[in-house]
Symmetry: C2
């Protein structure tokens, strides 16, 4: 048998097997448990997602309770809620009792508040207490991510004793996170940690205090998931304990929950940075109007912000009347500000998320970005200046290619409707200079604003990722055209 | 002792201890090993990063070889290269021999090609072979991420025998990935997997074939890191085997390497989406000119693309001459296209990355985004239309606040330099209608283009994340103003 390899464009295993299993469910449901015994619960969840919703409870019933609970953990959130709400509270309680405590709390969180309460009432007393404890925490905090199943022993325990204990626990219970064993002092406070492998490697006769690492990494129950991810990834650990103010281990968070958290966070960040509210649901399942709502709010806000460009241009209409040539370079100049702002923002958002820079670095970043902005602005200024001079000179010399006149005469002004424009009035070199100088100013301002807004957002307590590319562009557009027209007023329209 | 809790705004532990350890290094280097024994190598790496570069090799020499190698794994990449290049090839080889094979290959990859070859020559024969094997793979592929240290045994082995073997290996060698044990058939091909915990829980007398899971998840050595991350996160596993065409385990990838890979990927995606080349280096360490290069390429490309707006506007200069009012709404209309495009792109980039949609879904996405675009466009059209009508009516009725005239008269045209503009010529309702209809068209086009470009990039073999917000904006700007002036030509300037 060759192991299942993953080809990105292939259908997942579950979807391939779904028709067979659905057929079997109709014909001889008693065989389902045995036939699917070796399948990973994630694949069984894919099978369940491929069947009609009404069949899913039948399918889950055909599986052993603990297997059904595992399948539930991997099931699409919406489908899971639907399936559980369709069951009686007793049935649902019997299933969720078998789940890991952290998953159980998350699943209940997704249900209708009333249904969730009914199910909690039906849980065995100890499970109920544990569940209520976990449900107190924000699902995105360490307290919400943790599971309350872990192994901790007194540091005086001998290695052999600990091994016997670990084997007993491994056989009798489902302890999700048995990658590490925590050692405690006489008051039950966390003092050390060792991996299962280190326990196996420990010399016989030693106590855990002899072999465990002191100063274990830990997080507080209120730490957010980004913080948990950072600790796990900085220290390359598979599981991190959640420790109360008093130093007691309340639970542990395993790396798989953190990966999910990182991916969700990443999706949210990209969506926010793209200029919409985070969807919180996959693109292919979110409803049309929910999607519109998530996009409309920011889009309208940006539109209203951008209206200030119309206000500003209203003020400068006289100047445009005097030299419509100014309008020609309007989108070029304001968009250059937006683009350089978007670069600055994306750099700083990531640098802040990875703690490469912190709030107090803002002035150092500002200095660097001003220099960068001027350099990049000069580069664009040279390109822009050359383009205008080249086009003007082609127009002056009447260059044609395939019978088409090349270049553009930037020296013309309007002489009223129905009359021919009068050319040779505006100095085209001054047009080129106006555009070039404006570009330096606009790119410098865009770069600086793009880099500073994430700092300001962080300082105000918002997510820096909300400093989206469209937000920066809108913010910079208004300023950009004010810079442009002021340069024009001093240089071109004196 | 309370375990170290992580406060996001606190300095990391390493930085706090650095001055003490640096002082100790000067006074009595012999004590360094004992004093830092309980510290995590990640914290020791922070200490090393806080000291003058020239001191780092001294510090590493003061540590036991295996500890020094671990510190090296956590050290900043640039510093690590600098330190290794400063050593003799023998010294460096002695250190990197102690590293995990995957880390060793990565470290050598970062060095100057010649220095790396010299170090490889100095490695013990077996280590050298293993290293050369790993260096053949792209560092971002499964082959480049894997380590060649893992435990695999014949499936016929008994549980007790396997446990003895595992304990022996755990004691004698540094096997990074001892979370899982792989079982093989008589030809050495992978047939099963069980976790260390499952091995401990297995009944005595059973063979591994009785207790191992068949159909283990695996990846091919050429799979990219995103693919590896997806398998690990889908199946909630801590380690995934890399399996050759013939079904033999070549190595394993542990979750910590995947988290690093996910974070790097995320940084690259955000930077690309922000409209620059991925930096590949932290913001606070990259050199000024490297940074300029990464930003200048895209910024100039976008600028040159945006020049087509100047070309297009040159063509429409006559129309602007006839109604400069058109210029007033230019930034508002083109930016609305860019913003809606940015939303569509960010959604599809993420949906593609998470496989929520695949290439063949493009027509379904296109249909949905056209509908979304029309809906959002109508929303902005209503806002824009009302704004223009309101301002015009305020101007008509001469409304003032605090002595300032409110509103704007959109009916005026230029009558040449030095003459007063003539008002009442352009129909302001038609201006409002032109803007509104253009918005529907531009937002619809922007949304559709934003959603489709990532598909096109994927199809052409580029990273969809390169469809940056600025790229879409630039692309949509030119089309946006063509739509705008065509609507104006048919409606306002007939």
């Amino acid at each position: 048998m060759t192991p299942a390899k993953h080809n990105p464009e292939e259908r997942p295993l579950g979807a391939l097997l779904a028709p067979d299993i659905i057929a079997l469910l109709d014909e001889s449901p008693a065989l389902i448990a045995a036939e699917t015994e070796e399948m990973h619960p994630a694949d069984l969840a894919d099978v369940a997602e491929a069947m009609p919703v009404a069949q899913v409870p039948v399918f889950l019933n055909a599986l052993p309770k603990d297997r059904a609970a595992q399948v539930l953990e991997y099931l699409d959130e919406e489908l899971r809620a639907e399936v559980l709400e369709a069951m009686t509270a007793q049935q649902a309680a019997a299933l969720v009792t078998e789940m890991n405590p952290d998953e159980r709390a998350d699943v209940l969180e997704e249900l209708d508040e009333e249904v969730a309460e009914e199910i909690v009432e039906e849980l065995p007393a100890e499970t109920r207490k544990e569940t209520q404890q976990l449900r107190k925490y924000d699902p995105d905090s360490a307290g919400g991510l943790m599971t309350t199943e872990f192994v901790s022993v007194n540091a005086d325990t001998t290695v052999e004793e600990a091994l016997r204990l670990v084997r007993r626990i491994a056989r009798s219970e489902k302890r999700e996170a048995m990658h590490a064993i925590y050692t405690t002092d006489e008051d039950g406070r966390l003092v050390g940690v060792l991996s299962l492998r280190e326990l196996l490697a420990a010399p016989e006769g030693a106590t855990l205090a002899d072999v465990a690492w002191t100063e274990p990494q830990a997080v507080s129950p209120t730490a957010d998931r980004e913080e948990v991810a950072r600790v796990i990834s900085n220290y390359d650990i598979v599981v991190v304990p959640v420790v109360s103010e008093s130093g007691h281990v309340m639970g542990v968070i395993t790396v798989d929950d953190v990966i999910d958290a990182i991916e969700e966070e990443q999706t949210e960040d990209v969506q926010k940075f793209g200029g919409l509210e985070a969807l919180d649901e996959p693109y292919n399942t979110i409803g049309f109007w929910s999607m519109i709502r998530k996009r409309a709010v920011w889009l309208s806000a940006l539109f209203i912000g951008e209206m200030f460009t119309a206000t500003a241009l209203g003020v400068y209409q006289k100047e445009i009347d005097r030299a419509t040539v100014l309008a020609i370079f309007l989108p070029l100049i304001v968009s250059s500000g937006g683009n350089s702002g978007s670069q600055g923002t994306s750099l700083i958002i990531r640098a802040l998320a990875l703690r490469e820079v912190t709030l107090k670095d803002w002035w150092r970043v500002a200095g660097r970005e001003i220099l960068t902005g001027v350099t990049l602005g000069l580069l664009l200024a040279v390109i822009g200046f050359s383009r205008i001079e080249l086009w003007q000179s082609m127009a002056d010399r009447g260059v044609t290619a395939f019978g088409v006149a090349l270049g553009h005469d930037y020296s013309c002004v309007a002489e009223g409707i129905g009359r021919a424009a009068r050319c040779g009035v505006v100095n085209p070199h001054l047009v080129a200079l106006t555009v070039a100088l404006s570009l330096v100013g606009v790119v410098m301002f865009g770069t600086l604003a793009g880099a500073m807004v994430p700092f300001i957002f962080r300082k105000l307590g918002f997510d820096p990722a909300s400093a989206s590319a469209p937000f920066i562009a809108t913010f910079v557009d208004v300023t950009g055209l004010i810079i442009y027209f002021n340069v024009a007023l001093h240089l071109l329209l004196r």
